[in-house]
Amino acid sequence: MTIHQPIEIHAPAPADHPPRRLINPEALISAILALMALSALSGLFIITAFIFKEGVPIIAKVGIRRFIFSSDWYPLEGAFGIFPMIVGSLAVTAGAMVIGVIFGLGCAILLTQFCPPRLVSIIKPSIELLAGIPSVVYGFIGVAILVPFIRDHLGGPGLSVLASSIVLGVMTLPTITSISVDALQSVPKSYIEGAIALGATQWQTTHMVTLKAARSGIVAAVILGMGRAVGETMAVIMVAGNTIDIPHSILDPVRTLTSNIALEMSYAAGDHRKALFATGVTLFVIIMSLNTIALAVSRRRTGKVYAK
């Protein structure tokens, strides 16, 4: 990375040249820009501070083990255990990943390896559009189509882990696809040419060489998709059923961490509200761990590419 130094050209100053200003305007601009550049970071900092400030005291009061591992959520009686919600979030996320990874990765491989460019220019923007559809619309379609279908054909109340997984799978697909596409495209051409030269078919090249070389990028894509699934709120509220119970089958209803917050925030007060912030803290910790893993994995990849 080179930095472009301005080439200073000093024209001979005219006689009535204005006196040299005290502050170099360029330095001032640079300082202002640096200050504005810090706003994302300070936003992150202040969000973390406030969520933790509101949530941590109640976790300390209840005891972290009871808060996380107890199944009793009776906010009005002061019993705050979010274990069923944690299980719920993990269950719907796992289900979403099955769908999101199969479809998302399938689309990414197709787009980068097998699809004619003309079709790429249709399929890729369409998948991006899928990411733009509001989550309430996904939830609504889930309730209107998917939930009755599951209720009629598979049994159970319909509002279930399965319904949420399918909806979340579709919602995380664009994330997984677009990051995987980047990863697959950054595989050096020479790897692929080498494999083809050795007589491999295009598909053999793809699954033996390209996918292996892009592995860390794809892993990062899946982890980021997981983060999206854990954090999604409105769609899940609409299709998950929201009962506070540990699900025993994929046809059982669940409540996730996110829906717990969104459902009860409007009327919560006192310790109850604080406990919802504590739910937020739990969610925050899960998401941040996932993001950190994804960042670390993708950084390893860039390191490898530079080493080549």
Binding site: M36, F103, G132, I133, P134, V137, T258, G280
Partner: protein, 278 residues
């Protein structure tokens, strides 16, 4: 191996085409379903009237206005900050610890779920700063949420401007700021515009964060200090509480049409940008 390499390739590629076709099918189905059910009810009176009896009757004009206020203000706040960040990262500093920290901050912010933004906005803007459930609280919360998108796309757009343009500008004796404003930004504008338009789309479709910060008042927001219900939230409330399915569908089609228009516009801008710098 049971299958010949040729056969297995055929099988794998067919499966992937099937997956892609299903994915596109889902997209078409979602849009088609909402529009088929909603468009017949999406009349001019529906768009230009206020809702009556909690939205059971009447239209959605206040929600359209509220959405424009909240989302527009959010982008108005996040846009300049995001572009400034991108300019700083690309033109005013070299890669190092400081840029790594700024990027880390933006990446983390991008991963935070909207409900956490909502919780934060509620405790910080609504309560601590005393803004109440209002257009301003909602807009500030959304601004934080879309900031990383704007930074990322602006940075990519600015980086795509050829280095030679900068050299020529410097060669003609411009200062760095003159080079940035007259050459780089002018050239990167459609690319930056794409990011901002997409951020607008995201603000319009957001529900969870808006619910906790902008509130759900049904009337017109007379100022940015008043609560206002956005289209997405109105749709959620109508359908979830079973107030009126026809009005829910009509609201959803208005929302979907807006999102489609925004995405098409962003796509068009992006193509223009690619054609310009390539």
């Amino acid at each position: 191996m049971l299958l010949s390499p040729k056969r297995s390739q055929f099988l794998a590629v067919s499966v992937m085409w099937l997956l892609a076709a299903l994915t596109l099918g889902v997209l078409v189905f979602i849009i088609g379903f909402i529009l088929v059910q909603g468009l017949p009810h999406l009349t001019w009176t529906f768009l230009s009237e206020s809702p009556r009896s909690m939205g059971r009757e009447g239209g959605i004009l206040p929600m359209i206005v509220g959405t424009l206020w909240v989302a527009g203000l959010a982008v108005l706040i996040a846009g300049p900050i995001g572009v400034a960040t991108a300019i700083y990262l690309t033109e005013y500093t070299r890669e190092g610890r400081f840029t790594a920290i700024i990027r880390f901050g933006a990446d983390c912010l991008a991963g935070i779920p909207s409900i956490i933004f909502g919780l934060f906005g509620f405790v910080f803007f609504v309560i601590t700063l005393g803004m109440g459930l209002s257009v301003l609280s909602g807009a500030l919360t959304l601004a934080l949420m879309v900031l990383p998108t704007i930074v990322r796309t602006s940075e990519e757009a600015i980086r795509a401007v050829p280095k030679s343009y900068r050299d020529v500008s410097f060669g003609l004796g411009s200062t760095r700021w003159q080079m940035v404003t007259w050459v780089v930004l002018r050239c990167a504008l459609p690319g930056i515009g794409t990011g901002i338009v997409l951020a607008l789309g995201r603000s319009i479709s957001e529900t969870a964060a808006v619910m906790l910060t902008a509130g759900s008042a049904l009337g017109f927001p007379r100022s940015i200090y008043e609560s206002s219900r956005t289209l997405a939230l109105h749709f959620y409330i109508l359908s979830r509480e079973g107030i009126s399915m026809t009005n829910a569908y009509a609201t959803a089609s208005a929302l979907i049409i807006a999102i489609l228009a925004i995405n098409l516009f962003a796509y068009w801008l992006m193509r223009r940008f690619v054609a310009k710098v390539a």
